[in-house]
Every structure is written in structure tokens, then in C-alpha cells.
């Protein structure tokens, strides 16, 4: 590619700098001042404007010389090749075991808040793995995924409230109900494609939330469902007093951290199970069919597949995982309300899938960790938290538009003989 002249980007640089100044001035340049009961608007300090000017200049210079900056993006995939100690199956299994061991030991080495945070990460991993089937593998843009999460959570909450179900009894039912909801909602909408599908699923997600909010007699409306019991370990409760408590059974002193650790391990097991199931699904014909469908719907039809059924299976299976995650969320929080299932949750889960690399399991796990941890770690930046979050997204889109770890397709190496023997 021939080098562009030095000032080829002059107009776009002016434009970008102007936009920066305009947005910066309108967000930071004015200040609201309350004097008694009246609100006055005044200009911010000179220092703010000087900083704004510098920021504008920086943007201008960056845009102007963009093409002459050393490329950061070009060879990232080469850098991210599988390190040598992960090449063989045996080594991979060893590292997998070590990671699992570390994850199991983790809660015993750290404090309660960290374990709680890790559990939250695990919930998002589970959700993202489910959504990854729908978005990453089957290529259906679902913006209402949180609806199934809500169905799972409310299934447990309401089954407990009305019928006294325990967590373990409710968990499969929650998955089943979420699957049924997915099937029912998927059936009419999966004939749509792309943007239209996204809009309709967005609507369905909101409908579920609004239903939960307004069926006050059944769901408690905005008050939610409270006092949902924690799960038990083979009937042993993690409470201070009770008939059959964990610490009495094992003859150790009561410690509230036990319950937190138990929840963490439970979430870990659910995540491992989800990853395992999805891995198997990807290698099964149905996984191939999802992928084929994402690539070319007409070709699939010409091969006698029914796109609606294949999409429906992806939608339903994806919803099932959200149902499990929802039931777990309900038991962890003890309290659920429609507020927990707003659109922003769908957006975050979708962002995890996209950031991780569509269809890639490991990528999704890493992205879930990043997406949940970063906002937590960035708490000290207060109101700039979401701004940083946005910045991270923009940078990701520039440097790694395919996600952290783009999906590598599994290959069956069964019949090498056929190809090599000539």
C-alpha cells in the first residue's frame, strides 16, 4: 500500500477534534449550582477548559498521524498462538487439572467479598455460555436473553413460595420452564432474520420483565420475591441454627463463610457442567448444523434441514442454561425483583459473548471475567466507571474486532488415512 501524504487526514482530524471539544464542553464545561432552591448554570473552571483543549489537540494529532503510527493491530493473532506448553493433549489435560484445582482451592485462600465476586463472575460465565449457543454458534442475535434468566429465577422463587420446593428440586424445573419459554417465544419469531429478530427478542425480554412487574398478585410485582432459601448440601443447611446444619454434622464451629464457599463451588460445578455439555453439543451433528445455518441458510434448506427447527433447538438449549443460571441467582441473592432483569443485563451478556469471540468458549470465560471484574476494580473512578467501560469496548473493537479469542473450529481427525494415503 502506498503511503498516504502526511496531511491526508486533515479534515477528519479537524472533525474528530471538534467533536471531542463539543462533547467535552457540553458534558464537563457547564456546571449546575444549587443556591437554595434555584438551580444556576455556570461555566466550569478555566483549568477544565485548558484540559479540554489539550484533549482536543491530542485527538487532532492522533487522527492526523494515524496512518503513520506503528501498527499495533496487524499481527496480534500470531502473538496469541497457543503457547508451547499447551500443545499436546496430555499437557492440556494437565493444565486443565491444575486450573481446576486452583479454582477449587481459591475460596479457602481469600476473603468473603472476593468469593462473592467470583461467584458473580461464574453466573455471568454460565449466562454467556448459554447465549453463545444462540448468538455465537447459531448466529441469531438475541437481545432478550435476560428474559429466560428471569424465568429461571422466578420459577424457583415462586415454586418455593407457593409449593415449598427446595433449590435442588427447583433447579431442573427452572431449566425446563426456561426451555419451554424459549421454545414458545422462539416458535413465532425465528422466521425473522437479523435486525428484525433482534428487535422482537428485545421486546420479548421486556415483556417478560413487565409481566413479572405487573402480575402483582402472583409475583409480588416490584416488591419481588424474598426469603428464598439457600441450597442445602444433601439436606444439610448452612445456617447457624436448624435441625440439620452443616457445622453440627461435621462438628466444626459455625462460620458464615462456609455458605459463601458452598455457593461458589456450586456455581463452579454448574459452569463446568455447562462448558462440558456445550463442548459436546458443538461436536455433535446439531452443533455442526447450527454453524452451517449461520453460514448459509439457503444451503441448509437445500440439504433438507429445517432452519426453523435448528434455530429453535439453539434458542431452547440456550434458554435452558439461562434458566439454570436464574435459579442459582435466586438462591444466591435470596431476593429477586424484576429490576434485576433489565435490558442492561442482556446487553452485558451479549457484550461478553462478542468481546470473548463469538462461538469461542474460552474467550467467553475470559471476557466474562474481564466484564465483571473491571467495573468492580474501577469502582474508585466513580462516575467515570461506565466511561472507562465504554472506552474498553471501543478499544476492543479497534484492536481485536473478532473478540479476545476468536473461535477455532473443532476438527475431527478420524480419517487422516483417507486424505494422506493416495
Amino acid at each position: 500500500m502506498p503511503k498516504k501524504p502526511l496531511f491526508a487526514n486533515l479534515t477528519s482530524a479537524f472533525f474528530a477534534a471538534g467533536l471531542t471539544l463539543f462533547l467535552g464542553a457540553s458534558v464537563m464545561g457547564l456546571r449546575l449550582n444549587s443556591e437554595g432552591i434555584t438551580l444556576g448554570v455556570e461555566l466550569a473552571s478555566t483549568q477544565t477548559f485548558v484540559e479540554l483543549g489539550l484533549a482536543g489537540l491530542l485527538v487532532f494529532l492522533f487522527q492526523l498521524f494515524r496512518d503513520h503510527l506503528p501498527k499495533l493491530s496487524s499481527n496480534t493473532s500470531a502473538k496469541l498462538a497457543i503457547p508451547s506448553f499447551l500443545r499436546t493433549d496430555k499437557q492440556q489435560r494437565l493444565w486443565l487439572m491444575l486450573t481446576l484445582g486452583a479454582l477449587l482451592l481459591f475460596p479457602f485462600t481469600t476473603g468473603r467479598s472476593n468469593i462473592d465476586l467470583a461467584t458473580l463472575v461464574l453466573i455471568y460465565i454460565m449466562l454467556a455460555i448459554g447465549l453463545n449457543i444462540v448468538v455465537g454458534l447459531a448466529g441469531l442475535l438475541d437481545l432478550g436473553y435476560v428474559g429466560f434468566y428471569a424465568v429461571g429465577a422466578y420459577t424457583y422463587g415462586l415454586l418455593y413460595t407457593y409449593f415449598g420446593f427446595s433449590f435442588w428440586q427447583a433447579l431442573p424445573v427452572a431449566g425446563l420452564f426456561a426451555a419451554i419459554t424459549g421454545w414458545l417465544l422462539g416458535y413465532p419469531v425465528l422466521r425473522l432474520r437479523g435486525d428484525y429478530l433482534a428487535i422482537v427478542t428485545l421486546g420479548f425480554g421486556e415483556i417478560i420483565r413487565l409481566l413479572l412487574n405487573n402480575l402483582t398478585e402472583l409475583t409480588g410485582g416490584p416488591n419481588g420475591v424474598s426469603r428464598i432459601p439457600k441450597p442445602t448440601l444433601f439436606g444439610l443447611e448452612f445456617s447457624r441454627r436448624g435441625d440439620n446444619t452443616f457445622h453440627e454434622f461435621f462438628g466444626i464451629a459455625y462460620d458464615p463463610v462456609h455458605r459463601v464457599i458452598f455457593l461458589y463451588i456450586l456455581a463452579l460445578l454448574l459452569v463446568i457442567l455447562s462448558i462440558y455439555v456445550v463442548r459436546r453439543l458443538i461436536r455433535m451433528p446439531i452443533g455442526r448444523a447450527w454453524e452451517a445455518l449461520r453460514e448459509d441458510e439457503i444451503a441448509c434448506r437445500s440439504l433438507g434441514m429445517s432452519p426453523t427447527n435448528i434455530k429453535l433447538s439453539a434458542f431452547t438449549i440456550g434458554a435452558t442454561f439461562a434458566g439454570f443460571a436464574g435459579a442459582f441467582f435466586a438462591t444466591r441473592q435470596s431476593f429477586i425483583s424484576p429490576e434485576s432483569f433489565a435490558f442492561i443485563e442482556s446487553a452485558i451478556i451479549l457484550a461478553i459473548v462478542v468481546l470473548g469471540g463469538m462461538g469461542s468458549q474460552l474467550g467467553v470465560v475470559l471476557a466474562a471475567i474481564a466484564m465483571v471484574l473491571l467495573p468492580e476494580l474501577a469502582r474508585e473512578f466513580n462516575e467515570y466507571r461506565m466511561l472507562l467501560f465504554g472506552l474498553m469496548m471501543v478499544l476492543m473493537m479497534i484492536w481485536r474486532p473478532q473478540g479476545l479469542l476468536p473461535a477455532k473450529r473443532p476438527h475431527r481427525e478420524l480419517k487422516t488415512t483417507n486424505a494422506e494415503v493416495k
Binding site: P285, R288, A289, E291, A292, E295, D296, I298, A299, C300, R301, S302, L303, G304, M305, S306, R409, H411, R412, K415, N418, A419, K422
Partner: protein
């Protein structure tokens, strides 16, 4: 084997097929030629049940398939190689072929895979390569191979020569003849009338949604009107 009786097809208000009747007998190569927009692809897709015929009757192996859903039609001894190849570019040759035998037992799958690979030695060389990285001719071979994977009695080919180099086109047409020898009946829709008529037992000429001519391939090649309209004088 395949029979169309007075088939009409509408796209909304557009009357694309205006009463087409034709038949394909077992073991034949039958070709349908016509200019752009004559309704060739529409006819092909109507046989596959998408869009459905608004009038008339389509029977395949004695069974009325006029109102059968597309996925059922495609699973019962009929395969189509869609226009523009449409292989799964992200998948390997092996996986593309496997998708073709999605509803077949493992035995049939392996047996057909061997047959396809013998027919197209090129695909054997590229067995683990991603389809998107192959040339147009190889992709067309793969598309035909994929169509053959579920042991079709009748193979519908929609413009297999589209966008290919002349030498590759010749190869493809040779393979089509080979296919007939192994017992597959072929219905070929083509713009390349010269090549298509040369290998066809019989041919139909479609104009503005109506069949205007039908004869043996040889006679059509020699026909003055056909020469003028489709063979460049």
C-alpha cells in the same frame, strides 16, 4: 420420475411461471435453458417447494410433492445443488460433505463419501481444507459432492457453470455425464446452452415463464431458433 403438470408460480403479484409441464425420466440428463429472467431458477425452486406452486401438480417418483414442505422433499431422494454453489466456507471439505448426509446413517455416509471422493479426486486432496479457501471450480465440485451425499435418485443442478473458467466448465460437464452413468438422474438448469445441450438427452427452452420448445438435445442444438437466441447465431 419427476413430473410437472401445468405448474404456475407467483411471487406476490408477479406471475413467474405460467403453466409449465415437463417430465424427467429415470437415467436421463434433462436440461432447461433460457435467458435471464425466464424463470429457470424459479422452476427449480418450485420443484423444491420454495416457493410453492400456486397451481398445478408436481410429482416425484409417483408421489405428489406439490404441497410437501421443502425439508421433506429434499430428504426423499431429491438433491439440489443451489445456484452460486453455497458451500459452507468456514467448514472443511469433510465437514461440508458430512452436512450433505446429515440425515443418513453412518454407513451410507461413509459409502457416499468414498464415492464422492472417487468422483472428485481433487476433493480428496483438499479433504481437511476450509471450503472458503478453495477455487470456484473446487467449490462447485464440493457443492455437487455435498448434494450427492444423501444418495439422491435425482440431482437438480442450478447453473453449475456460473462464474467458472471454460476448462473447469468442461470438467464439470464431464463429471455430470459420469454421474448419469452411475445411475443418478440429472435435471440441469443452465445459461450455457451449448454445453448443456451437448450432454443432454432432452432439453426444454423456457421463455417468459412458458416452455416454448422441447426436443432432444441434439435437435435443439441444430435448431435455427435456438441457435439464434442462445448459441450466438
Amino acid at each position: 420420475m419427476l413430473q410437472l403438470e401445468d405448474v404456475h408460480t407467483h411471487y406476490g403479484a408477479v406471475h413467474a411461471l405460467k403453466g409449465v409441464s415437463l417430465d424427467v425420466k429415470k437415467g436421463e440428463i434433462v436440461t432447461l435453458i433460457g435467458a435471464n429472467g425466464a424463470g429457470k431458477s424459479t422452476l427449480m425452486m418450485t420443484i423444491c417447494g420454495d416457493p410453492k406452486a400456486s397451481q398445478g401438480r408436481i410429482t416425484f417418483q409417483g408421489e405428489d410433492i406439490t404441497h410437501t414442505p421443502t425439508n421433506k422433499i429434499m430428504r426423499n431422494g431429491l438433491s439440489v445443488v443451489p445456484e452460486g454453489r453455497r458451500v459452507f466456507t468456514g467448514m472443511t471439505v469433510e465437514e461440508n460433505l458430512a452436512m450433505g448426509a446429515y440425515f443418513q446413517s453412518k454407513d451410507i455416509k461413509e459409502q457416499q463419501e468414498e464415492r464422492v471422493l472417487n468422483l472428485f479426486p481433487r476433493l480428496k486432496e483438499r479433504f481437511h481444507q476450509r471450503a472458503g479457501t478453495m477455487s470456484g471450480g473446487e467449490q462447485q465440485m464440493l457443492a455437487i459432492g455435498r448434494g450427492l451425499m444423501d444418495e439422491p435418485e435425482l440431482l437438480l443442478l442450478d447453473e453449475p457453470s456460473l462464474g467458472l473458467a471454460p476448462i473447469i466448465i468442461s470438467q464439470i460437464f464431464e463429471i455430470i455425464q459420469q454421474l448419469r452413468e452411475t445411475g443418478t438422474t440429472i435435471f440441469l438448469v443452465e445459461q450455457n446452452a451449448l454445453k448443456a445441450l451437448a450432454i443432454a438427452d432432452r432439453g426444454y427452452v423456457l421463455e417468459h415463464g412458458k416452455l416454448v420448445m422441447q426436443d432432444t438435445g441434439k435437435n435443439l442444438l441444430a435448431n435455427e431458433d435456438v441457435k439464434k437466441a442462445y448459441l450466438g447465431g
